[in-house]
């Protein structure tokens, strides 16, 4: 399997606020390989560098932000130092954390078609892909409305539909579930799962909801002050509860339950979701 993303000795600092102000490394020595088709979740405290990492992978940092970068990033075979974000956009899709604040087209359908038009696709293709996305994200009812008038969750779905319409090889999602209702979360996660069926789409997702990470991610990376603090399968990492608490990372409710039962009963329960918990716990009930 080839790497969809490769980070080598990556360091990055934003430009200082004043000429003599400090410019700390926000990303401070990252090495990482993400396999093609892998779903990687990135968690960490509020200022761990998650959003900056997303901007770097999409080439927006340092191209648009300025600042200083060391090491290199190769995404979908392209070195971000040698490719502008515009060129990378054909292969790398980025969903901003505040994506809903950045919708600017007069209607939902124009917003979803916008990126496709910029790719210079034929009109029939644009229409077909836009329709597919409007259906997938339950946006047909609001297609003629202005994105600004929609609820926060609806806006998030419009933003996601716009990014996914471009069918990027590498999808970078910064807190994609923030502000979505539970049904909306399920839809987004199901749509992402579908995308991955043929193994061609790689997903990097920063996420503060541990339930989504436990259910879908192949691998979990925990960042702390711009460095990798922990890395492994969600199952292995979520059970390191004390370490995660120190790193500001939430754990799934079923892990909290197993942890509490284990401490009170001396058991060794180890489950991640309700289904597994039900089976394990039923054995010891009448």
């Amino acid at each position: 399997m080839t790497d969809a993303i490769l980070l080598e000795g990556l360091r990055f600092a934003y430009p200082p606020l004043a000429p003599d102000a400090p410019a700390p490394w926000i990303i401070d020595g990252l090495d990482l390989r993400v396999r093609a088709g892998e779903w990687l979740a990135v968690m960490g405290a509020s200022d761990a560098g998650k959003t900056t990492l997303c901007l770097l992978m999409a080439g927006l940092a340092p191209h648009l932000t300025g600042g200083q970068m060391e090491g290199r990033i190769v995404v979908a075979g392209r070195d971000t130092r040698d490719h502008t974000p515009q060129i990378l956009a054909g292969a790398v899709g980025l969903l901003f954390q505040e994506a809903e604040a950045q919708l600017f087209n007069p209607t939902v359908e124009a917003e979803v078609a916008w990126g496709l038009e910029n790719l210079g696709l034929p009109v029939a293709e644009i229409r077909a892909r836009a329709e597919e996305m409007l259906a997938l994200f339950r946006l047909e009812q609001v297609r003629q409305r202005a994105p600004a008038e929609l609820s926060g969750g609806e806006q998030k779905r419009v933003a996601l539909a716009s990014v996914l319409a471009m069918r990027p090889q590498v999808l970078i999602l910064d807190e994609p579930m923030g502000g979505l209702d539970p049904a909306g979360r399920s839809e987004v996660l199901a749509a992402l799962s579908d995308l991955r069926q043929d193994g061609s789409t790689t997903i990097v997702m920063t996420e503060s909801d541990p339930e989504a990470v436990a259910a879908f991610a192949d691998r979990l990376l925990v960042l702390d002050e711009g460095q990798v603090a922990m890395e492994g399968s969600p199952r292995d990492l979520f059970y390191q509860t004390e370490r995660l608490a120190g790193l500001g990372v939430a754990i799934p409710q079923m892990v909290r339950l197993a942890d509490l039962l284990n401490r009170r009963l001396g058991t060794a329960f180890c489950f991640l979701n309700v289904g597994q918990a039900g089976e394990a716990l039923a054995v010891h009930l009448g």
Binding site: E98, A101, G179, V249, L261, L265, G278
Partner: protein, 307 residues
């Protein structure tokens, strides 16, 4: 001296602090998004408002501090109609946290942002300073006090908005999805802060999509669907109704779903928190509890990692 209110304490009319009476609202010439809501929130209640995206939650709560005005019906704060009262006047009673930090941050530094509200309240400079310092400390913002909020991470900007609200210290707090973008520690701090305010008798109205938090903290859960109140009661009652939850695009907390799945094995199916589930499970299971490791009472918080 403040007395902690009973969890399911219901208000009498005299105690009503927020009231929507047959409230209707629509944007421009559009279809109504709030359709005849009648809701009374009592002084000292901790109400969590849930519902699908687009169900009218944000539109409803924006009426409580005058950000929106009824198209039909009435909104009362502390018994008085909000019609004709300015947002500035209402802000003395009702503090509002926007869904997105950038909707409310506009000062050049974090410190000035925090001082803005208290200054508008006309507080003496020493009091403003004390409140700003306390809020900076509580939300771990001291190190960035002199920085422009715009360059901070989303989670930090969220903490700036929470700290601004804390510095205002209003009798009523209305928060629109305060937990989005917060990390585990930020969540714990925020709910610790809110729990403290609740004990002191403040009224809290919070919109969230996090059912685990709603189940753990709410004294009362109000469910909105298509602009109307479709359920209103203690969390145990609301989260028991599967068809209601499906209709409102909601799910129950994982631990409640688990408790219900184990009903055929004797569990009541009512657990709303991990702690409650454990107590019930341990009473039923054949496994013997290790002495001295009994319930550490109290602080169930939705996402707080067990220590």
């Amino acid at each position: 001296m403040w007395v902690k209110r009973a969890k399911h304490w219901r208000c009498t009319l005299a105690d009503a602090i927020l009231q929507a009476v047959d409230l209707w609202f629509w944007y421009g010439e559009g279809t109504p998004v709030v359709r005849g809501v009648n809701l009374t929130i009592g002084r000292g209640e901790f109400v969590v408002l849930v519902g699908a995206n687009g169900s009218g939650k944000t539109t409803l709560i924006k009426h409580f501090n005058g950000l929106l005005r009824p198209r039909r019906g009435q909104v009362r704060v502390a018994g008085q109609d909000t019609a004709g009262r300015s947002m500035g006047e209402l802000a003395r009673q009702v503090g509002y946290l926007f869904q997105r930090p950038e909707q409310q941050i506009f000062s050049p530094t974090v410190q000035q942002e925090l001082a803005f509200g208290p200054r508008n309240l006309g507080l003496p400079p020493a009091e403003i300073k004390a409140r700003v310092e306390a809020a900076l400390t509580r939300f771990r913002l001291t190190a960035v006090a002199g920085q422009p909020p715009a360059i901070l991470s989303y989670g930090l900007r969220r903490r700036v908005t929470l700290a601004s609200l804390a510095a205002m210290d209003p009798p009523v707090l209305v928060l629109d999805e305060p937990t989005v973008g917060l990390d585990a520690r930020g969540l714990e701090e925020t709910f610790g802060w809110l729990a403290g305010l609740h004990i002191q008798g403040r009224t809290i109205v919070l919109v969230t999509h996090d059912m685990t938090l709603a189940a753990a903290h709410a004294g009362r859960v109000v469910v909105l669907g298509q602009g109307q109140v479709i359920s209103d009661g203690p969390p145990a009652q609301v989260f028991r109704q599967n068809d209601l939850l499906a209709r409102a695009a909601l799910t129950m907390p994982p631990v409640t779903a688990l408790a219900q799945a184990l009903r055929s094995h004797g569990m009541s199916g009512d657990s709303l928190t991990v702690e409650a589930f454990c107590d019930e499970y341990i009473a039923l299971t054949e496994i013997t509890e290790i002495p001295g490791r009994g319930p550490a009472r109290g602080m169930e918080r939705g996402h707080e990692p067990a220590l």
